[in-house]
Amino acid sequence: MRLESFTITENPLSPSPALHDLFMQFLLIGAISFGGGIIAYERILLVDKKKWLTPDQFMAYLAISQTMPGLNSVNLAVLLGDHLRGVKGAICATLGLILPGSLFVLGIGILYADNSDHPLANLLLAGIAAAATGLLAAITYRIGDGQWGHIKSLLLIIGTFLLMSIVKLSLPWVLLIMAPIALYLYRPTKSV
């Protein structure tokens, strides 16, 4: 999943949507994105439908949100909200995005806390958890698409996995060891 380098340019339309409108769009994204694909919804609604951003602006912000720690979709909401309406926009966008899902998981969580020793619930959850593992494996495979064939990235992927899962170092240590190696391997070169 390599993105070209986009720069944030001025949108000729430079719209400034109302805060409640911004909140409602992100609330909609947060409510309909069952099964993933939030970033795709953000693009369809904000770029294609509302035309609040140009595709290039969107891709530039996406690249930042993927480089920064934290959830990509939430980071993107922060950046797009800030771009459109400043600090208040960032807050409205983020709250809208996470509100529906938060209520949904809390609802399940309360049911779970009350029924977690129910035998039938345990069978159901065993099947659901197995599928969640399969889904995570599929997502990992897809995100890694294009990386598996490169020896440099493959070594970094395997090294990270071994330190984390087999050597069982804690995450800060894994990052302290792997990040400098990765940065060295991918340092800017003049020949490219």
Binding site: G127, L156, S165, A182, P188
Partner: protein
């Protein structure tokens, strides 16, 4: 009170370490929750799968972890701790970004972080897999899901619910 502070500190740290997305911190979160907060691996996988069923970001499941440990206050503490630090960081870096936007290091950093975050996601698969793939039936369901997600366009929510239903029948019959 002290459990809330411990929870908040743990999730704030995870928030900042979530390189390449929330999934990268799954193995660390699983270990931490088992060691410090008494959430065993099976519970963790159950809660993780709720996130996959919900709309919005999958990692909203951290709310259930907070709720499980310290009720609604716990859920609130975890929500703030997990989302606020990384969002504030992203907000300020986003505003600075254009200044060093043209540096070749920007691309290098992104390229370097990508394989690390995939490696961490692989560890996440391993961590949740060890807790959820516990017999031939769950193994078959996990592999079937993997196949269906990669080869079809069925919404993952339906596949997960279907696996839950099928799993209930098979496990009730064979165990």
């Amino acid at each position: 009170m002290s459990i809330l502070i411990q929870l908040a500190l743990s999730f704030a740290l995870l928030s900042i370490l979530a390189v390449g997305g929330g999934t990268a911190v799954l193995p660390e979160m699983q270990t931490l929750l088992a060691q410090r907060f008494g959430i065993d691996h099976t519970q963790f996988v159950h809660i993780y799968s709720f996130g996959q069923l919900a709309p919005g970001p999958n990692m909203l499941m951290v709310l259930v972890i907070g709720y499980q440990i310290a009720g609604f206050l716990g859920a609130g503490a975890v929500l703030l701790a997990f989302f606020l630090p990384s969002s504030i960081l992203c907000f300020y870096i986003g505003r600075l970004w254009n200044r060093f936007g043209e540096s070749p290091w920007r691309r290098s950093i992104q390229n370097a972080l990508e394989p690390i975050s995939i490696g961490l996601m692989g560890s996440g698969v391993y961590a949740v897999g060890k807790a959820s793939v516990v017999n031939p039936i769950t193994l078959a369901l996990a592999l079937l899901t993997l196949y269906l997600i990669l080869r079809t366009k069925i919404n993952p929510v339906f596949i997960i619910l279907g696996s839950g239903g099928l799993g209930t029948l098979l496990l009730a019959y064979f165990h």
